[in-house]
């Protein structure tokens, strides 16, 4: 009934597609961490109209579905004569979508820095940039790590949507394989297991990062 030999024979195909999924997640996460910081700083510290505009744009991206955004960007850009390679488009879209999540995390973290710490850097006359870089941001960032971890794992699990714009990631490749061979049960079970393994690996990794970065009590 369950054709294990088939699966073993096609495992390399699935694993290389897994590589694409991971690559997209890593690049997307890198983009969203940078974009999120910019968005957060603009929303918190820019002049009112600019901060407000950034907020409204970020909210629009955050509350609407990634799949619609993928289609929108993929079909709208060429309409105005702008064609980017699909892979780049994919990373830009998913990175931007999750960048709006990251900006919420940064904002909450920055707001949670105690007033007393701001007072302390002023009282010690530490230059503004150095204060942010060496004192304020580090204590805000460490508590954010679990939230970014959740973000990354959510991105990993949502990256299969990019298969609709021909990205050869895990689920798209798997579905194609299933179509061609009619081995639906085997393929989709394998996809599920691969995701389970990836997310457990990920939670081991984040737990390790949390332990390493924990401030001793």
């Amino acid at each position: 009934m369950f054709d294990l030999e088939f699966l073993i024979a096609h495992l390399p195909v699935l694993l290389s597609a897994t590589g694409v999924t991971i690559l997209i997640t890593v690049l997307g996460m890198a983009l969203s961490l940078c974009l999120g910081l910019v968005l957060a700083v603009v929303q918190l510290y820019a002049a009112w109209p600019i901060a407000r505009l950034a907020y409204v744009l970020a909210q629009c991206v955050r509350v609407s579905p990634l799949l619609i955004q993928i289609y929108f960007v993929f079909y709208v850009l060429p309409f105005y004569g702008l064609t980017l390679p699909p892979f780049l488009t994919a990373v830009l879209i998913i990175g931007t979508h999750y960048g709006t999540y990251a900006s919420e995390i940064y904002k909450a973290g920055i707001r949670s820095i105690p007033r007393s710490q701001h007072d302390a850097v002023v009282a010690l006359n530490i230059p503004r940039w150095r204060a942010w870089w060496r004192i304020l941001l580090p204590q805000a960032v460490i508590p954010m790590i679990p939230a970014f971890g959740n973000c990354a794992i959510a991105m990993l699990k949502e990256s299969p949507l990019l298969s609709v714009i021909t990205i050869p990631e895990l689920v798209g490749v798997g579905r194609q394989l299933a179509f061609e061979t009619f081995k639906y049960t085997e393929v989709f079970t394998a996809l599920g297991l691969i995701f389970l393994v990836l997310s457990s690996l990920y939670s081991v990794l984040t737990r390790w990062i949390e332990r390493v970065t924990r401030v001793p009590a």
Partner: protein
């Protein structure tokens, strides 16, 4: 249909999809909420079997991609002899997925409140059952407003995936229209606006409700 369909025409055309989207979302919310409460409580049960079953459900559905789950319901279940109507494919896939996230939230909130209030409950000698529904449950519910609201938003944002398994939701109707008139940018733009029109007030409403409870109870979130 001609090349110059107005925005209003587009909205009218995709409207039946809106009904499909929201009827599936509504029934999935009921399924998901029931599962969240049952599996959340079950994961804290003193019965080993119940606990293991609930934790396994939570881990499996949280650990895999929603798209894979949806494809499983759509492609694999019929091979195993279970053929579901599209409405039920959507409802069950979405409900089971959200239920696992909701169960984890329920579990976390109950554990956190129980540990915060443990000393007072023991010192006042309040019986277990009473302590659970009068002290722990209300505070856990308050804590869950924001994450559950976010989960609802995520559920809504997942509904367009149903179009990938031929359920005639908003996105599906939109793509039918694009096949007819080729106006991809404006149709996808209209869809975006429709989702924002529902998602934004939902996000704001949940935040306001949470702020309201926090103002009154304060410590409920500590």
């Amino acid at each position: 249909m001609n090349q110059t369909m107005s925005v209003l025409d587009i909205v009218v055309f995709v409207l039946p999809g809106l009904a499909a989207t929201f009827s599936i979302l509504g029934s999935a919310v009921i399924v998901g909420l029931a599962l969240a409460i049952l599996a959340g409580l079950g994961s804290l049960s003193s019965q080993r079997l119940v606990r293991v079953l609930c934790l396994t459900y939570i881990e499996v559905f949280r650990g895999t991609s929603f798209l894979v789950q949806l494809f499983y319901f759509y492609y694999v279940l019929p091979l195993l002899g279970v053929s579901l109507a599209p409405f039920w494919v959507g409802t069950l896939a979405l409900g089971l997925n959200a239920g696992s996230y909701g169960a984890e939230l329920t579990r976390g909130a109950l554990l956190a409140v129980a540990s915060n209030q443990r000393d007072a409950i023991i010192a006042l000698n309040i019986p277990r059952v009473r302590a659970f529904y009068r002290i722990i449950l209300p505070q856990a519910a308050a804590r869950m407003i924001l994450p559950m609201g976010n989960l609802l938003l995520e559920m809504m944002k997942s509904t367009p995936l149903l179009a990938l398994v031929s359920i005639a939701d908003l996105l599906y109707r939109g793509q039918m229209l694009i096949a007819l008139n080729g106006q991809a940018p404006i149709v996808y733009g209209v869809l975006m606006v429709i989702y924002i029109a529902f998602g934004w007030p939902l996000a704001r409403g949940v935040a306001l409700l949470d702020a309201c409870v926090t103002r009154r109870w304060g410590g409920a979130h500590v």
